[in-house]
């Protein structure tokens, strides 16, 4: 699945897409992820964040490099904030959480493989070679 196919499908479902973060912020985010022993972004993700700053579809979220402000509603945390909170958990070393819904977390590793994780133990439940397929599963479960 290409990025454009994924974004087109998400727009059709009524997902809210945040504007892209500045390139400099993406580079800073990558450095911070490395510092907390999470995975650095694979190229697919750096290119994705160059056009999209995060996505919300009901209770499904793809986190972006920056916090997403929402009128009168608690902001969506940045990918750094989410992963900083989990950085002490050994199971998360070498992985970066990039999405969540009410049942699962979603993470990538530095090689571009994505994982659906049990939200209680962070145990991998499913592996994806296509990160956009993982994002689709993450967001689709946000509107059931």
């Amino acid at each position: 699945m290409t990025r454009e196919e994924f974004l087109s499908a998400m727009r059709a479902r009524g997902a809210e897409i945040a504007p892209a973060a500045p390139r400099q912020n993406i580079a800073t985010t990558n450095a911070l992820l490395q510092g907390m022993r999470a995975a650095m972004m694979p190229i697919t993700m750096t290119e994705f964040y160059a056009v999209v700053g995060g996505i919300t579809n009901g209770s499904g979220y793809i986190f972006g490099p920056e916090e997403v402000q929402r009128n009168n509603i608690y902001p969506v945390p940045s990918i750094i904030s989410i992963n900083r909170d989990m950085s002490h958990i050994p199971a998360m070393h070498g992985k970066t959480i990039f999405g969540r819904n009410d049942l699962f977390f979603f993470a990538f590793d530095a090689f571009g493989t994505a994982y659906m994780l049990d939200n209680l133990t962070l145990r991998p439940l499913r592996k994806y070679d296509d990160i956009f397929r993982a994002m689709t599963d993450c967001l689709a479960a946000g509107k059931l």
Partner: protein
């Protein structure tokens, strides 16, 4: 190994959720049936529809009329809200509206996830057990845009919806 009740309550307090009751639970990994997702989806919808009896809590959420109707008709949950299982599915929790509660995704549901993940591997874990179907921290219920007018309006709408669906 497990957290003491005092330690667990301290963690909740540090996350500004000190009014969230906790219950001790011994997790045991459970096989779930192949049709769990369809049943989970149906239970979520039933849970949303059951919220017509939670007008007091809904009044504090400052919902628009459209959001309120979508919620109690079981169509869509409001922005930044999550439906959580009281006893997780994979630990033997029933797929039933009685095993669900609703709270804000950020920060509360995310914090609850962190709280439970932090107890991974313990024989006994502390699980949040709000007394009502919707968890709204006490410190956010002291004022704001809710109030009697909102509550009355929502109660009226809830009664109309119940009546239209023959749910009384």
């Amino acid at each position: 190994m497990q957290l003491s009740q005092t330690s667990a309550e301290k963690i909740m307090k540090d996350m500004s959720m000190d009014d969230m009751p906790l219950v001790a639970f011994q997790p045991q990994r459970t096989q779930i049936s192949a049709d769990w997702f369809a049943r989970y989806k149906a239970a979520r919808h039933s849970f949303m529809q059951s919220l017509v009896d939670s007008v007091n809590e809904l009044a504090f959420m400052n919902l628009s009329q459209e959001e309120f109707i979508n919620l109690v008709m079981g169509r869509e949950i409001p922005r930044n809200m999550s439906i959580r299982m009281r006893i997780p599915l994979f630990w033997g929790g029933q797929i039933s509206p009685d095993n669900m509660f609703m709270c804000a995704t950020f920060p509360h549901s995310q914090n609850i996830d962190r709280f439970i993940i932090g107890q991974a591997g313990y024989d006994t874990v502390w699980l949040p057990a709000p007394s009502k179907k919707i968890y709204i921290p006490a410190h956010t219920t002291g004022g704001g845009d809710g109030g009697n007018a909102t509550e009355d309006r929502l109660a009226q709408m809830a009664a109309q919806i119940v009546s239209a669906h023959g749910m009384e």
